[in-house]
């Protein structure tokens, strides 16, 4: 054994000695040889076309998409078109699905359950769990079924690396890694996935920055909230023929604000808690590839839409029960939900929000997807709008965006509330899945806590100032 160990050490000693004999630039010499060998093999087997015109399409397109002046406007324009298609296209199927699941099926199920269950059980199951699920499906499925395929087509075509290329100098300037632009783009799909994707960043400092700021990319679960609230409050404030464009522009604004926050916070972190210089890296622009339409439709529907929808449904079922319970368990004749809402309302008012929104964000920590259903359910319960639902804690029957708007207006919502909800939806804690992922990736309670509470702090600061300025100048 000793002998064995000795011979192992002698190998290492030999290596140490030989290291002095070879050129000190061993790594460079080696890389040079590899490149030379590769070139000589390639020269033997590859024939390029005489005219290189075949490449010009990619190059011309790159010149436009990554141009200094046009790059960003084109990026915003593409984003806006995607949202516009989603907003305009999603309304009709939404109405249809909700009329089936809520208007037709719910009374049937309720009657059936009432025939043999105690009232509270049928309340929890049908008015709580089932309605929450039905709501999530009718609100989320149509926008997702449109948004994800379009997004996947862009990804398949090769547009994402161009976005990263445009963003790269900005990230470098704020002391972050250029690849953060890519993980940010991933975050637009799902923050948990974006956090995992930061593994492509080598430096721990820059990786932490990327993890903490990933939450500023609006994720799947938050797009529907943004789109719905923008349609109800921003779209309605614009003339009818501009409504679609105005709401799309508002969503783009929030998304761009998120990117701005990710840059500003990255800058702040790299100047304070995570000091350091940005490291260099090379970003390869892949060729454009004609997207495969059918396959993209299929995979984006199965992998993204259904996946996200399933997650939302799974979280909506228990959340629906919780909502029903807090709306129906009473202390001194007032429901738990109302106790909380009335207690928080004065504080929430300072931020231009309300108790319902705060409670909804607490109930919806597992999944951002169910924020809007929860808000509506709580508003109905809080106002006692029994004519709109089957009782307190029951999700009312809505059959169009207009009805949703009616509920929110009845709950005392204004354009300011809508704007603040959009801001708060961008700037609040990540969902529990993402928080868990951050912990798994960083293995640090400290950074997990920072990633969780920093956005809330920012959200409350921003809504506070927006609200105070609004109240001073606009009312």
């Amino acid at each position: 054994m000793n002998n064995n160990k000795f011979s192992k050490e002698s190998i290492l000693a030999a290596a140490n000695n030989l290291r002095w004999e070879v050129d000190e630039n061993l790594h460079d010499t080696l890389m040079e040889s590899i490149y030379e060998n590769a070139t000589s093999i390639a020269n033997k087997v590859v024939k390029y076309p005489d005219k290189k015109q075949a490449f010009s399409f990619d190059r011309t397109l790159d010149k436009i998409l990554t141009s200094k002046y046009l790059g960003f406007p084109i990026m915003f324009l593409i984003l806006a078109v995607v949202f516009w298609i989603t907003i305009v296209g999603a309304n009709y199927p939404s109405v249809f699905i909700s009329s089936v699941l809520v208007d037709s099926l719910h009374p049937i199920l309720k009657n059936f359950a009432d025939s043999f269950m105690p009232w509270w059980l049928s309340g929890v199951l049908i008015d709580g769990a089932y309605l929450a699920m039905a709501w999530v499906v009718s609100v989320m499925l149509p926008p997702m079924a449109i948004f994800f395929p379009v997004y996947t087509l862009l990804e398949d075509f090769g547009y994402l690396p161009r976005v990263a290329f445009n963003m790269d100098p900005l990230y470098k300037k704020v002391g972050a890694h250029g690849r953060q632009a890519l993980t940010m783009a991933m975050g637009f799909g799902c923050n948990a996935a974006g956090v995992v994707a930061t593994r492509v960043i080598d430096s721990p400092r820059e990786r932490l920055i990327a993890i903490i700021t990933n939450n500023f990319s609006l994720c799947n679960g938050r797009w529907p909230t943004q789109i719905l609230i923008a349609t109800i409050f921003i779209g309605a404030a614009a003339p009818a023929y501009l409504a679609g464009i105005a709401s799309a522009a508002a969503v783009v604004f929030i998304a761009v604000l998120g990117i701005t926050f990710s840059l500003v916070v990255s800058w702040g972190l790299s100047k304070t808690l995570l000091k350091g210089e940005a490291s260099a890296f090379s970003l390869e622009l892949p060729p454009y590839r004609p997207p495969r339409l059918l396959q993209t439709l299929y995979t984006s529907l199965i992998d993204r839409t259904i996946f996200v929808l399933w997650r939302a449904v799974v979280f909506a079922l228990p959340a629906g029960m919780v909502i029903w319970l807090v709306a129906n368990i009473t202390i001194d004749g007032i429901s738990l939900a109302d106790h909380f809402i009335n207690w928080v309302n004065p504080a929430a008012f300072i931020f231009g929000l309300n108790g319902v929104i705060i409670l909804a964000y607490i109930i919806a920590i597992p999944a951002n997807e169910i924020v809007i259903p929860t808000v509506l359910m709580l508003t109905v319960a809080n106002l006692g709008l029994t004519n709109l639902g089957g009782g307190s804690g029951v999700m009312f029957e809505f059959d169009s965006v207009a009805d949703t708007a009616q509920i929110l207006h009845a709950g005392g919502w204004t354009l300011l509330t809508g704007i603040n909800l959009m801001l708060f939806s961008l700037l609040h804690n990540p969902c529990s899945t993402t928080i868990y992922t951050i912990y798994k990736e960083t293995k640090s309670v400290k950074w997990t806590v920072i990633s969780t509470f920093l956005p809330i702090l920012l959200g409350l600061t921003v809504t506070f100032f927006v609200t105070q300025l609004w109240r001073i100048f606009l009312s």
Binding site: N4, S7, K8, E9, I11, L12, A14, A15, L18, R19, E21, V22, D23, L26, H27, T29, L30, M31, S33, I34, Y35, E36, N37, A38, T39, I41, A42, K44, V45, V46, K47, Y48, P49, A54, F55, T152, E155, D156, F157, G158, L160, P161, A164, R179, L182, M186, V196, A197, R199, V200, D202, E284, P286, P287, Y288, R289, R292, T299, I302, D303
Partner: protein
């Protein structure tokens, strides 16, 4: 004549995609381990999805595979475990994704390493190919994205390439499923030992480097004889690679040798 051709084709394992059984994540017991390596964005995940029937996320941007994904397939009554590695440009630096890829090829001892390369950027992709061939001597080159190469008027002489590299070269367009049967066949042949690879070794102009590698290799061989990647281990030692130094101290390097021998004996 026609029927004769038909029957010949039908007998050929390549013709019969019925031989491929996609096992998804079922890898209960497998006969061979296959690694998928290559530069970023060359279509590794697409090949992976095609063979396993899984739907690993694919997208046209480099760096989306950050962890290794595993799946299984069955071909010619043999079960294969397929491991999709993160795309890397090289195996010589110390970033996390490169370590995942390098450690798997070195310590995971795959029976076959399929190197997926972009046919439109062959020269640059070859840098990684040559490094992998220093580590393992059982590899298949998957010359992917041939549809793009054709569209750009680029011609690649796959036979000469195969002769130069000493490993099988299969022309594919994984997105269209083109050439996947041939790829399966070559994976099978290399795994089962039907095809013996004679991998290309990097030639250096620096005589000092060549001498040093030779001296150190013979030193290592005394302790770990029969190691398939002596030269590469020597190189890494010269560069002072800590994980290789540790592997020598702990004797993990010896395990590589034993696994390799066990593989040969069982054939």
């Amino acid at each position: 004549m026609n029927s004769l051709e038909m029957s010949n084709c039908a007998n050929c394992p390549v013709h019969n995609m019925g031989n491929l059984k996609k096992l998804g994540i079922d890898m209960s017991s497998f006969d061979f381990v296959v690694a998928l390596a290559g530069n970023p964005n060359t279509g590794k995940s697409t090949v992976f999805n095609y063979l396993t029937g899984l739907r690993q996320h694919t997208g046209n941007w480099p760096g989306k595979t950050v962890t290794r994904a595993e799946g299984g397939f069955e071909f010619n009554d043999k079960k294969f475990k397929l491991v999709d590695l993160p795309g890397t440009y090289s195996l010589l630096s110390t970033s996390t994704d490169e370590e995942v890829a390098r450690d798997f090829i070195l310590f995971g001892q795959p029976d076959v390493t399929v190197i997926v390369v972009d046919a439109t950027r062959l020269e640059r992709n070859l840098n990684l190919v040559l490094q992998i061939l220093e580590i393992t001597n059982r590899a298949v080159l998957c010359l992917n994205l041939m549809d793009e190469a054709r569209r750009n008027g680029i011609k690649v002489d796959d036979r000469t390439l195969s002769k130069e590299l000493g490993i099988p070269v299969v022309v594919t367009s994984a997105r269209q499923g083109e050439g996947m049967n041939e790829l399966l066949k070559m994976i099978f042949e290399v795994a089962s030992g039907e095809y013996i690879c004679r991998p290309y070794r990097i030639k250096s102009n620096s005589s000092e480097l060549n001498d040093a590698i030779e001296k150190l290799s013979s030193e290592i061989e005394k302790e770990f004889s029969g190691l398939p990647n002596l030269r590469w281990v020597a190189l890494r030692l010269l560069e002072g690679d800590q994980s290789i130094i540790n592997a020598i101290r702990s004797g993990d390097l010896g395990n590589l040798k034993r696994q390799e021998l066990a593989g040969i004996e069982s054939e």
